[in-house]
Amino acid sequence: MILLAAVFVFPLLLMVIAPLRQPGLPPPRGLGEVFPLSPSLQSFRDAFSLVPLGRSILNSIFVTGIAVPITILTASWAGLALTLMRGRLRVVIIAALVLLATVPLTAVWIPRFVLFDKLGLIGTYVPLIAPALMGGSPLFVLFYAVAFHRIPREVFEAAIMEGCGALRLWWRVTLPLVKPTTAAIVLLSAVAFWSSFIDPLLYLKAEKDLTAPLMIHSLDLLGPTNWPVFLGASLVITLPIVVAFFAAQRLFQGKERGGSWLGR
């Protein structure tokens, strides 16, 4: 198990060590040269001066910060509606969600671009955030539907008998019971919006509006002698997600329904 973990940790470790190498030097020859004898922070300085990395990180924070809460709202609403629904329509909707989850993004590039163009939204962040209005991904809606489905039926019935409306049922009764699911979706959607490359590439124009993944692609072109710069920028944009992961650990261990992330 430790060996397996080491295999996965190694590339991350390399990403932490490699930026300490002075940029401009020939690439290291073998593992022995990977650890720099005289560590330098020059590659981080270069990453921020060669491209507007700081600005792009703020833009990414803006997009992710808005998109993730909306994803949680819409995915949990849709999940709850699906749980409360009965009969064949429910089966049809679940089948449709599974089917939608299999549609590759490239298949909808052009229709989406035309749609946002007609709405006059090209060059704004709306096309990047828009998926959040639909639950972020069909899978997130299904995750919530499964989590809510595991809550005993009596809980819903009791709440409704007490006069709970739809919003109150969602916010006061069901959402607190599926905290680990919410934590998982917060993380998954944050990773998806944070690292999204194609949407910002297609929809954004001005350099001041670009998000962090586009900067990484740009630095990748600097050539092998500047890999420390490329990896330095990669490290900087990976850190917020790592921090988010550790911060979400407490939520994963929700006491209400046991330890697992599906809420039971």
Binding site: F113, V114, D117, G123, L201, L221, G223
Partner: protein
């Protein structure tokens, strides 16, 4: 339920409002067609040169504003470009490689710039290298105006040549000289039975093997203007292909497929693990940053003919542009003394404007390579691949087959030309210029 719906609508409105503020809003060619959008690709230093160019242009033309759309990789540039053309939002101006411009010209979405050039007269075809002008003609009309002309040359480690006592490459060195040098410079320096320094790093792709076929008097396709199939079965082409394959299968002067994938040629050359590498001008920028590397450039070796392959990018204008006059004024400025000088200073490209290419701005004696003149001398012996609309797709399908053929141990099972023709069935139907 009604409350829920109202909440959703309210939320949607808030989100759209906020996101709209953050993005800066839709930018169309308002203000009498004096806003132009330029999309270009390149590394950060190259993109900085464009920003400097735009600032200089705007200073001289205060009535025009240029919105720069920078993209890193060429692949991403193409994805953004094709989507924006299909979606009806193309940039007014963009840079594109001659091997990729055919697909746009064929769909009639480009504004032909030749007639406008003749009408305005400030910039003339004769100011530019004719090999690049010819490459961007579609149906005999100059469609895009070339910005750079980076031919394929051999970068070599001069110190390695001198240490091994191998004569330095000359302007007229031959295939035999090339092979002798490659063999002499391939070395196992620590005696462990594994090669540590390779004589040559070669990327087995169509664009790289083409000049060797042409040098031997062969052709890569049956008809340069109206190609219908690959022509690798001629004796001249077969001999050139056998020469290329011998570097790995017989002489082992190039890294194997595994070695190739574990460390790319550029890194290997930069750290001194490779003596020679065919590359375009772009590699100069990387090497200038490597301390203590003694390197220079030489023309490709020759056989029956002296030939190299064209690498060139041009400014193209979208037919849908509503700021055509302003956009053309930008091209005139970019290819004028000030504009072309700014781009040439970045060192990444060879200017297509003859006066700039032959000036100290490009041939800077204080900068490597010492033999920068080689880039200009190679221009006269340039040939290009056909510019039919499907050429990019043809290359994409051909390259993996060429790589497999190149690294096959022993004699290849299939003939390369036959395999390539089978893999590209139906793609050669494109309308030719």
């Amino acid at each position: 339920m009604v409350r829920t719906l109202i909440s959703i609508s309210l939320l949607f409105t808030i989100v759209c409002g906020m996101a709209g503020c953050g993005g800066g809003g839709q930018k169309t060619a308002e203000g009498g067609g004096n806003l132009i959008r330029l999309q270009a690709f390149g590394d950060p230093a190259e993109l900085d040169a464009y920003k400097e160019l735009i600032a200089a242009f705007e200073k001289e033309n205060p009535d025009v504003r240029v919105e720069f759309i920078p993209v890193g990789k060429q692949k991403d540039h193409m994805a953004k470009l094709t989507t924006s053309f299909v979606g009806g939002q193309p940039p007014d101006l963009f840079l594109i490689n001659f091997r990729r411009f055919g697909q746009f010209a064929e769909k009639d979405v480009l504004e032909p710039l030749g007639p406008r050039m003749a009408e305005r007269g400030k910039l003339k075809e004769s100011d530019l290298y004719e090999q690049t002008v010819e490459a961007f003609k579609y149906k005999d009309t100059l469609t895009c105006i070339p910005q750079n002309v980076s031919s394929l040359v051999i970068y070599y480690n001069r110190a390695m040549f001198q240490e091994a006592g191998v004569p330095l490459p000359t302007a007229d060195w031959t295939w035999d000289d090339f092979l002798v040098a490659g063999k002499a410079l391939t070395k196992d320096t620590n005696g462990d039975g594994k090669t540590d320094v390779f004589g040559l790093g070669f990327e087995p792709t169509l664009i790289r093997i083409a000049p060797f076929i042409w040098q031997n008097g062969g052709e890569i396709v049956d008809n340069q203007e109206n190609p219908t199939r690959f022509m690798f079965d001629s004796w001249a082409a077969a001999e050139a292909l056998a020469f290329i394959r011998s570097w790995y299968s017989e002489h082992r002067i190039v890294p194997s497929l595994v070695e190739n994938k574990s460390e790319d040629h550029e890194s290997r050359f930069a750290r001194g693990g490779l003596a020679m590498i065919p590359h375009s001008r772009r590699f100069t920028a990387t090497l200038r940053g490597v301390p203590n590397l003694d390197w220079d450039v030489a023309p490709l070796p020759q056989r029956k003919h002296k030939v190299t392959v064209l690498h060139s990018d041009a400014y193209c204008m979208a037919k849908e542009s509503t700021s055509k006059d302003a956009a053309y004024r930008f091209i005139e400025f970019a290819l004028g003394t000030t504009g072309a000088g700014i781009i040439a200073k970045s060192g990444r490209t060879v200017p297509t404007v003859k006066t700039i290419a032959n000036s100290p701005v490009f041939l800077d004696p204080t900068q490597k390579p010492a033999s920068a003149q080689v880039f200009l001398d190679s221009i006269t012996s340039m040939r290009r691949t056909p510019n039919i609309g499907s050429w990019n797709e043809i290359e994409t399908r051909a390259d993996p087959i060429i790589e497999e053929w190149y690294f096959t141990e022993g004699p290849p099972k299939e003939r390369l030309g036959q395999e390539l023709n089978e893999a590209t069935v139906g793609l050669f139907k494109g309308v030719s210029p």
